[in-house]
């Protein structure tokens, strides 16, 4: 693609993308650290996540402010306009991802005193792996303007949903086995729900990437396999 005749305009657009990449990088860290904090029961690391999330909020504010400035001063058109819309949308998805990761860390602090068997969190670890891979791929898809990779992410969200369903069942079982597990399991259940939501935000970003590259919104119905909203606790 040719460069803008006005170089400072091209530089402003590039700066938006750099800031978004930085935001994405921090979100990947937050998610990975939350998972480590959960696995190692490490309140210090959880505290670090809670603190670091502020940087994500700050970056989102900066991105929004700069996007408004560019719209006001440059009147962007076509692919430039789509890029600016996309950056603000993706920034708000990333801000939510940051919050959800932070919330997992808060729960790590809440259950710090409890003992829990390792297998209980293995399902969550699996969800973290999937969510991290989705997040990484979708951020790459944006920076490479790769609609195919975005579409792949979009289709893969089902895996997270499927894992979430089994984690949900597993945690219910633990709760039924021993009511003393309920407090712990509820926190883990919310943690799993957060990870499922992070997957949804990655899917949102995939749709945005598709819009940037192709100029059209994905119209197909999103693949959905989270069935927990209709699950019941059935006594065997």
């Amino acid at each position: 693609m040719n460069d803008h005749t006005v170089r400072s305009y091209a530089e402003e657009l590039a700066a938006l993308d750099r800031k978004l990449a930085q935001m994405g990088g921090i979100c990947e860290d937050l998610l990975a650290w939350s998972s480590d904090a959960l696995e190692r029961r490490d309140p210090a690391l959880a505290g670090k996540v809670i603190d670091r999330d502020k940087a994500v909020d700050q970056l989102q504010n900066e991105i929004e402010e700069q996007a408004i400035q560019i719209i006001a001063r440059r009147q962007p058109m076509a692919n430039d306009l789509r890029q600016i819309m996309a950056v603000t949308r993706i920034a708000s998805d990333l801000e939510r991802i940051g919050d959800l990761a932070k919330n997992i860390s808060k729960r790590v602090l809440a259950i710090a005193g409890e003992t829990y068997p390792r297998p209980l969190i293995s399902g969550l670890q699996r969800m973290v792996e999937l969510a991290l891979a989705q997040l990484k791929d979708v951020l790459d898809a944006y920076s490479e303007r790769n609609a195919e990779l975005a579409l792949k992410v979009w289709h893969q969200d089902e895996q997270i949903d499927a894992t979430y369903n089994s984690v949900f069942r597993e945690l219910l079982t633990y709760m039924m086995e021993d009511p003393r597990n309920i407090g712990l399991c509820t926190h883990l259940l919310f943690g799993a729900k957060n990870l499922e939501r992070i997957g949804d935000h990655a899917t949102n970003i995939a749709e945005t990437v598709h819009f940037v590259v192709c100029g059209e919104t994905l119209t197909d119905d999103r693949p959905k396999s989270d069935t927990t909203s209709s699950m019941l606790l059935v006594q065997k």
Binding site: V6, M77, A78, G215
Partner: protein
Amino acid sequence: MDHRIEEATSALLAGAVLHNHPPKVQARRVSVHYGGKQALFDVDLDVPQNSVMSLIGPSGCGKSTFLRCINRMNDVIPVAKVSGDIHVDGQNIYDTDLDVVELRARVGMVFQKPNPFPKSIYENVAYGPRIHGITSSKSELDGIVETSLQKAGLFGEVKDRLHDTGTGLSGGQQQRLCIARAIATRPDVILMDEPCSALDPIATARVEELIDELRENYTIMIVTHSMQQAARVSQRTAFFHLGYLVEEGETNKIFTNPTDQRTQDYITGRFG
């Protein structure tokens, strides 16, 4: 804000129903040579009735040349040679037995710089209907002058000084006077060649508002260097480059997701 939403909605709706409008102007394989130099290459373009079509592109791309073909203004340039067919309402305007003066009454034109005659405001508007013999009486002529000035959104500002000279008006008022003059001959099509380039933003907004109102009764083709203006006023946009019509389509589409790379480069400021 509400007003803008309304405007955007009506523009969208207009875009959606345009396909039902018959083409008012139909150009096929239109080429123009200025002496040995070809300025326009095989342009095919349909302009739907009661719509605004913007012609955009860098200087020298042929958009004004094309606009001037529609009322045979190129006839007055001795070295210009036009080939191909242009139909207005199904009639070939390059037919040898066509009355060019009558054509220019049907296809009016507004230029870049307001160019009122050095006569009174009244005379500026009355001139066209008089020479075309549209009116038979003074009172009828008075009526046409008043209606035309009203349609051009100028009557309120000049009704007490209709016999003052037209060149004494402000730039924006002069341009609206020229639009009133173009309307007075009861045209079907109005051609505008950068009508706002010499106007301040308020006067520009008035002319744009006027274009939107005129669309109800006229078919408008406008050449503009302002992308934003093209995006604001038109339902369809045609992009010209180096004498070729590169892309033509709904304005909504052209400015958000154009098909051709050259269109994208031009409207985003990457060349031109």
